[in-house]
Amino acid sequence: MTNDFKKKKSQKEQTFGDVMRSQGVSRRSFLKFCAATASMMAMSPAMIPKIAHALENARRPSVIWLSFQECTGCTESLTRAHTATIESLIFDHISLDYHHTLQAAAGHAAEEAREAAMEENYGKYLLVVDGSIPMGNPGYSTIAGISNYDMLMETAKGAAAIIAVGTCATYGGIPHANPNPTGAVSVNDLIKDKPIINVPGCPPIPVVITGVLTHFLTFGTIPELDHLGRPKVFYGQSIHDRCYRRPFYDKGLFAETFDDEGAKKGWCLYKLGCKGPTTYNACATTKWNNGTSWPIEAGHPCLGCSEPDFWDGGGFYKSLSMPTENITQTAIYTAAGAVAAGVAIGAMNKSKKNSAIAAHDKTTIDDLEK
């Protein structure tokens, strides 16, 4: 028994390089794998030797994935990852020890799996969260009778780092949208004492999820983050700045509707409400589903789904330069009110003027000399 345990332990200590070698993977194959990994992590090809070195010595981390107020779109997205496929992720890269949608065990056994993973890897496991956490009432979302808040706090305690996947976990997302009926909040609203990587998007691009996981596996650290906690390599540039339709924006050529001449020729979608100018994400370069296409290529304006509060941005088909409220109505009401006010003030002024004129007669040289 003890021997068995030791044997298991030593296998767990195996590095990624060991695993690859034991599977008979040649060095050349390993280099190719590293090149693909660098590309996936949006790193410069100059980093390939460094990645190779780091991966040689990387260990397969335990990953616990918690799903709260979510739609499972993030998990679905993960399964669409072409580079570092879900299979290779599950078998080679990480040990996905708890994941509602994918794990075989259910009920008590599932919860046991989570507890076992936490205990065995305390301080070392990676916690992935999708979905927001309702603070309005603990009964708004429970798993195994435990509120989302309690489960998050309990599981976060022993995590090395937390990856908040999807806009709900990173910013509260759709449950947080006005009027936020369940009091939904994001992970970093609740947890302040752990490194948190935000991977927003509704859902995030699959290779961005796997890229962040792989980065952690490779270097054991979190990537460089921007002011919203997003990895800069993927969220460093706006959709607009990297959009292949940008030259049309610069020339002032816009699609006016969804199948006019401009739409067919791939002109800029700004007038149809594109949020590309204020949205930071990697869609324009990585595209979706193994480079097949992406929303703007398919003719639909960017919704801005990787930005906080994008649901409350005043309408997906309203251009960024348009006010979000009904200004026409405001203007009409204001004008009506102001005419009345203006007349009143004008009348007051007029009576002032008249009384001044009336008072004028009585002005004497003495008055002026005062």
């Binding site: 002032g252 906080p308 941005g313 330069s321 026409t328 203007a331 006010a341 203006g342 007029k350």
Partner: protein
């Protein structure tokens, strides 16, 4: 407040507040001006008030030769920034979309690079105007704090707009929000400062011309 929340605020409630103050201010100012009234002219009319008035509205938009010679700089720089403001505000595609949203109709835009260049010209003209104001002793003497404020609020939308377009210095949502906010500040002070001339210029010019027209003289 996140930057997108900030942007949503300036595009929503912020813009609404600004528009309310702007429209109410303008109307009240006009009401004040119009209701103060003019003394009835008892003299026999020797010409048309209307044609005289309309004439000056147009004619005074062009400087006469002597004014031009006397203060070439003021005229040129003044024209440049006024035309520049017109072009950047009214002929830039995203702006036209905003007007379309409010008025229900739009008009053709100029190519973006033209507007971009015009913005630079306008900023330079405004800077030159300020430099002139500060270097000319007389001008400097008669300049009030309001003048500086108005100058500041006029150039701010141009600078923030230029920065937002070229994404200089900050993230795109913040820059766009700052640009819109600067426009809102301008809208708020507009009716209560000399900026009001943007509306009253026609009225005052018409008034001058109408007097001359009534008297049957060329204004």
């Amino acid at each position: 407040m996140s930057e997108i929340e900030f942007l949503n605020w300036v595009r929503g409630p912020g813009f609404q507040i600004a528009v309310i103050i702007f429209i109410a201010g303008i109307i009240i100012r006009f009401a004040e001006i119009l209701m103060l009234g003019r003394k009835a002219n008892l003299a026999e009319p020797k010409g048309s008030e209307m044609s005289g008035g309309l004439h000056t509205i147009v004619s005074r938009s062009f400087p006469d030769k002597s004014t031009f010679q006397r203060s070439t700089f003021t005229v040129v720089a003044g024209y440049l920034f006024h035309i520049g403001l017109f072009v950047t505000i009214f002929l830039f595609a995203p702006h036209i979309l905003m007007f379309k949203d409010i008025f229900g109709f739009g008009w053709p835009s100029l190519p973006t690079p033209v507007v971009d260049a015009m913005a630079v010209v306008t900023i330079i003209a405004l800077l030159a105007v300020l430099a002139h104001r500060m270097s000319d002793t007389v001008l400097k003497f008669i300049t009030t704090k309001e003048d500086y404020l108005v100058w500041m609020l006029t150039i701010l939308p141009l600078v923030t707009g230029y920065m937002a377009f070229h994404r200089i210095g900050m993230t795109a949502p913040t820059l766009l929000a700052l640009h819109i906010l600067s426009v809102e500040l301008l809208l708020v002070v507009f009716p209560f400062t000399k900026l009001m001339h943007g509306f009253t210029f026609a009225l005052s010019r018409w008034y001058n011309g109408a007097i001359s027209g009534y008297r049957g003289v060329q204004s």
